[in-house]
Assembly symmetry: C2
Homo-oligomer: 238 residues x 2
Amino acid sequence: MRSCSDFNTKIRVLLIDDNYNHLMGIRELINLENDIDVVAAATNANIALNLIKKYQPDIVVMDMNMPEKDGLTAIQEIESLDSNVKVIALTAYDDADLIFRAMKVGAKSYILKTMASSQLMNAIREVMQGKICLPQGLTTGFFEYFQNSFKQKEKAQNAAGSLLADLTSREEEVLDLLTQGHNYKDVANILFISETTVKTHVNNIFQKLQVNDRTQAVLYALNNGFVSKRKQRTTTVA
Amino acid sequence: MRSCSDFNTKIRVLLIDDNYNHLMGIRELINLENDIDVVAAATNANIALNLIKKYQPDIVVMDMNMPEKDGLTAIQEIESLDSNVKVIALTAYDDADLIFRAMKVGAKSYILKTMASSQLMNAIREVMQGKICLPQGLTTGFFEYFQNSFKQKEKAQNAAGSLLADLTSREEEVLDLLTQGHNYKDVANILFISETTVKTHVNNIFQKLQVNDRTQAVLYALNNGFVSKRKQRTTTVA
DNA sequence: CTGTATCTAAACCTAAAGATTTAGATACAT
DNA sequence: ATGTATCTAAATCTTTAGGTTTAGATACAG
């Protein structure tokens, strides 16, 4: 363990960029800072993985645009190393989808190559302190993508989910138990009703959902965001 | 439509807070700013919804902690109004889960009541420009929650998903068709094999996944991130 | 108070699903 | 060459699942 009180201690950074010139350029820039040190560099994610194990850097600055192994996969592999290395993604492209996916797999920051180098240095220092941050210019794009992904889900659910609205509360209970993998006998026992009653309910469900069998009904429910009344109550916590 | 070129145009804000004193306090603070105007205020989300329709404010500043209708539901309802109103969440609690859910349903910013009032004014101006932003102090919490939600999914899939690894490629094909709602006859026709062969495969699937019927097998597949080989190829795009 | 919706449940039947055994045809590795 | 895994498929049987009709008991609204 390194002592943080040691004033000689610099932030140990490992660089990954398939372009050797970029690699050297960034290295130069970082080494201008007197509190950050580039301890290793690689033009290839596979080599980098070994270097990470060897040098155990504080931070990995990774180019996302690499031919052999793409940055996203590389980040995932680094994260599954369960070392304490924190990855900062570096790329030329301001793509909300890429940003979203990089943050999703565990990146601690996302910096564009077109940004002032101070942005990167800033990010390195912030991330070193355990923070996760996006530059102001990228947050809106990220959140728009984030919110949109949920909106689309909702739309799909509302569009087709209208059939679910036709179910009575008892039918919802039955369908809920079916989505838990219970057969008719189980459902009858759980709801304290006869098996023939369950069949009646199930047949009504089939007609309302326009499906032919239990499995299709369960699939319809899952694909259209079915949540039974009972569950809704426990989920909707303020 | 208001003209944005009009230099008299102030940012029109609607306030919602169930606590009347807070409401008036925030109103005072905002009215100190000469580019922001509180056009309406309500202590109740339902009243607020009507006021929004009436006054069509640019921005809604909403307290998240309300007794009758909670803030999350209120935001959802405002968003489904498909007006251009932008909601800023305001709360006393620094809770990552709340922040995540507020942003998820469409909040454009999330400010703590404990923060300096300049933070709120700042957020109002940023959001007015179409930006989505979180104060620096909240981003780490948000992203930790965000990344964690994906990690948990993965863990659940890897832990229990091991049984899926035992399936042969043909069994995967059969299971894939079952998860699409096909019955045995369908599967037989699609794969150009006899129905008895399908039954053999299905029985092997049941044993390997330790389930008793088709529906349970499908549920197991869906709950454990089953993706058939064929689908994987089209999904894994760099 | 009467029609409508819902929940219940029976009888009856057909079709599909699930369990089990056996076995031929490949293919692949030791 | 021989064992192992996989895919195929049949026969046979039991158990669910699914379809249809009918009907009693509430409950609730017009």
